[in-house]
Symmetry: C2
Subunit: 357 residues, 2 copies
C-alpha cells in the first residue's frame, strides 16, 4: 500500500462524559458506560485524581484563611516521607510511596474548596483492582494511573505513571544489538511514563477528560507495576536539592569527629583485628586540598604519614589560628573524600588519614 498510512501505529483516544466522581463510585462501570468502544488490548490511562476520588482519598480543610494554610501543611506533613528540597513556598518531597513530587502530589484543583485530594494509597493496587473489575466485565485491558509531575532541569510538567497493571513498566533494550553490532546498554525505556504522556495530549487540565485510551500498543505480560520506576534515594544522584546537600556538607564540616567513632563491640566478641592505621591517600589530592586554603592558612604544614600543623609564629592567637587551620584542612580533605582524625597537643595538631572501623 504505497502512499498509505502505516496500519501499525497507535491511536490515542479521549474518553468524555465520565462526569464528577465521588467516593465509592465504580470506576469500571463509569468508564465502560462513557466509552463502550473500549476493547481488549487497549491501554486505559486514568488520571489519578478520579481514582483518589473514587477511593475517598479526600481531606476536609477550611476554605480559606490561615487555618487553610495550616491544615494544608499538616496534610503535607502526613504525606511526606522526607523533604527533598525547599525554596520559598515550594516543597519537593518524597512521598510514602517513594514518588518525588511538589507538595506530595496533594491537589486542590478539580475539587471544591473545602477538600484536598491525596494520591491513591497504593496506585499499583488501584490499577490492579480496576483491571480486575474490567476483566469481570469481560474486558482485558492495560491500566495506567497517571499524574502530572515536574522534573529536574527542564521547565514544564509532563504526565507520568503512578500505577500500572497488565503491562511491564520498563521495556528493556539492554543486550540488543544495533545494525552496527554495538550492544545497547543502559537502555530501559519507561514505557508506562510515555503512555501517560501520550494520553495527556488528549486530556484537558479541567477534569473533562480524565481517561484516555491508547490503542495499538503491544501487550507485554502481566507486569510488575509502576513502583519499579521509583529510584531509591540511595542510588539516586539527585536525592537532595542542591542547597540542602550543600548545607548538609557545611553541617558535616561542623561535626567532623576528632576521633573515629568507637566501634560497638558485643561483650563476648574476640578482640578486634587491628585496622590499617594509614590508608593510602593520593598525595595529589592532599596537595589540592591544601591549595584551596592558599592565603587563608596561617600555620606551618608538614606532611608525614598524616599531616602535622604547627603555629607559624609564637603567641596564643597563633595557637588558636592553628586550631582553625586544622579544621579548615579537615573540611577540605573531607570534600575530597578523605576522612581524618585529629589529635591536639600543646604544640599543634596531628591529622591522621581516616580509619573506618
Amino acid at each position: 500500500m504505497t502512499g498509505g498510512t502505516p496500519d501499525d501505529g497507535l491511536q490515542v483516544l479521549p474518553v468524555r462524559g465520565i462526569g464528577d466522581v465521588v467516593a465509592g463510585d465504580d470506576l469500571a462501570r463509569l468508564i465502560v458506560t462513557a466509552a463502550p468502544w473500549i476493547t481488549d488490548g487497549d491501554v486505559l490511562v486514568v488520571t489519578s485524581k478520579i481514582v483518589s476520588k473514587a477511593e475517598g482519598r479526600l481531606v476536609e480543610v477550611p476554605a480559606d484563611g490561615p487555618e487553610r494554610d495550616e491544615a494544608r501543611q499538616r496534610v503535607l506533613d502526613g504525606e511526606t516521607a522526607r523533604v527533598v528540597a525547599r525554596r520559598g513556598p515550594t516543597s519537593i518531597v518524597q512521598t510514602h510511596h517513594g514518588f518525588v513530587m511538589a507538595a506530595a502530589g496533594i491537589d486542590a484543583s478539580n475539587v471544591d474548596k473545602t477538600h484536598l485530594v491525596l494520591l491513591p494509597e497504593d496506585p499499583d493496587a488501584s490499577a490492579r483492582r480496576l483491571r480486575a473489575d474490567l476483566l469481570a466485565r469481560g474486558l482485558d485491558v492495560v491500566i495506567v494511573i497517571s499524574d502530572t509531575m515536574g522534573r529536574a532541569w527542564r521547565n514544564g510538567l509532563t504526565d507520568v505513571a503512578l500505577g500500572a497493571a497488565g503491562i511491564e513498566a520498563l521495556l528493556d533494550h539492554r543486550g540488543q544489538v544495533d545494525p552496527y553490532g554495538n550492544e545497547l546498554s543502559l537502555t530501559q525505556m519507561a514505557v508506562v511514563d510515555e503512555l501517560a504522556a501520550a494520553a495527556e495530549l488528549v486530556k484537558g487540565k479541567c477534569d473533562r477528560v480524565p481517561v484516555a485510551v491508547v490503542r495499538g500498543h503491544p501487550r507485554s505480560g502481566e507486569g510488575s507495576g509502576a513502583a519499579v520506576l521509583i529510584r531509591d534515594a540511595e542510588s539516586d544522584m539527585f536525592s537532595l536539592g542542591t542547597a540542602e546537600a550543600r548545607a548538609a556538607g557545611l553541617r558535616a564540616a561542623a561535626v567532623l569527629p576528632d576521633s573515629p567513632p568507637a566501634a560497638a563491640v558485643p561483650p563476648d566478641s574476640p578482640p578486634a583485628a587491628p585496622v590499617s592505621a594509614v590508608p593510602t591517600v593520593d598525595p595529589a589530592v592532599v596537595a589540592r586540598a591544601l591549595q584551596t586554603l592558599d592565603g587563608l592558612r596561617q600555620s606551618d604544614v608538614q606532611l608525614t604519614d598524616g599531616i602535622r600543623l604547627t603555629p607559624a609564629r609564637g603567641g596564643a592567637a597563633a595557637l588558636i589560628r592553628t586550631g582553625a587551620d586544622a579544621h579548615r584542612l579537615r573540611a577540605a580533605l573531607a570534600a575530597e573524600g578523605i576522612e581524618t582524625t585529629a589529635v591536639i597537643d600543646d604544640e599543634g595538631v596531628t591529622l591522621t588519614y581516616g580509619v573506618s572501623a
Copy 2:
C-alpha cells in the same frame, strides 16, 4: 455516534524505510519519500541521531582500546559546559545547549565503531530548517527533534524534545479556572516532550524507525523552540548532584573567610555608606547551630551581638581547641545560612554575624 470511537483523538504513526543517513543527506527528501502520506498539520518527531548524521556531527575515534576511552573523554569534555554529577563511569553534564544529559548526549549506538555521534549543534535551528525544507515542498508540518534522556528520581528513560519548530513547546494552563472555580496555577505542560514520548512508543531503539508522525494534534502558532524547556542552573533546585553539592558545602566550610571580602572600590567613588554591622539573627537558629556541636565543643561560648569563644581550661592545647571550635561553629552557622566573620586574639575568638557588603 453512540459507541463509536471519538474522532478527535491522535494517531501516532511510524515512518519506515528511511535507511541509513549520511552527512549532507536531505532529510526532507528522505522523509517524504519514505512517507508520502504525511500531510499538513502533522507533527514529525525526528530522532536527533539522524539530524546529527545529516549535519555531519560525527567524530572519528579509535574502534577500541584505551585510545578509544581517551578520545571519548576528550569529545565529552568538548561537549560539556559543566559537570553536574559523577558516579563511577557515569557523568551527568550540562551541555553547551543547556541540556542535562548523561555523557552530553554523545552516542556510540547506531553508528560504526570508529565514530561517535554528537547532538545537533542547535536543535531548534535544525528543526526550523527541516520545517522550512518541507514547506518548500508544500508541506506545512510541525517538527520536534527528540532524544532519549534519563531523569532524576525515576528509573527508565523517556524521549524528550531537544528542538522544535512550528509549535509552542509549553502549553500554559495558568489562569484557567477548573469547574470548581479554582484557578490553575503552576500548570505549564511540556507538550513537545509529551509528543516526543508518544512518538517513541512506535519507534525502535535500532534506528529502523527514526521518525514518527503524530496526527491530530492542534496547531499552536509558530512557537519559540524547545530551548524554553531548559531550566537555567540558577533557578534549578537540582543543579548539582547531591554528592557534588555536599562536597561543595565541605569545601565552603574549608574556605570560610575570616573577614568579609574587601569591596572593590573604584578610585573616584564616594566613600561607601556604613553597612549595618549586626544583622538580625534568629537566636533559635544560633541555638540550633550550637546544639549540633554538643559533645564536640570544648570552649566556653558567650552570646553577645555575635559569639565569643574562649578556652574552657588553660594551656596551649585548649587554645588550639578553641580555634577548631570557632571554625566548627562557623560551619554550623553557615549551614543555617548565617555568615560570620572571625577575629582572633590572644584570649579567644569573636564571631560577628555576616556583613554582606
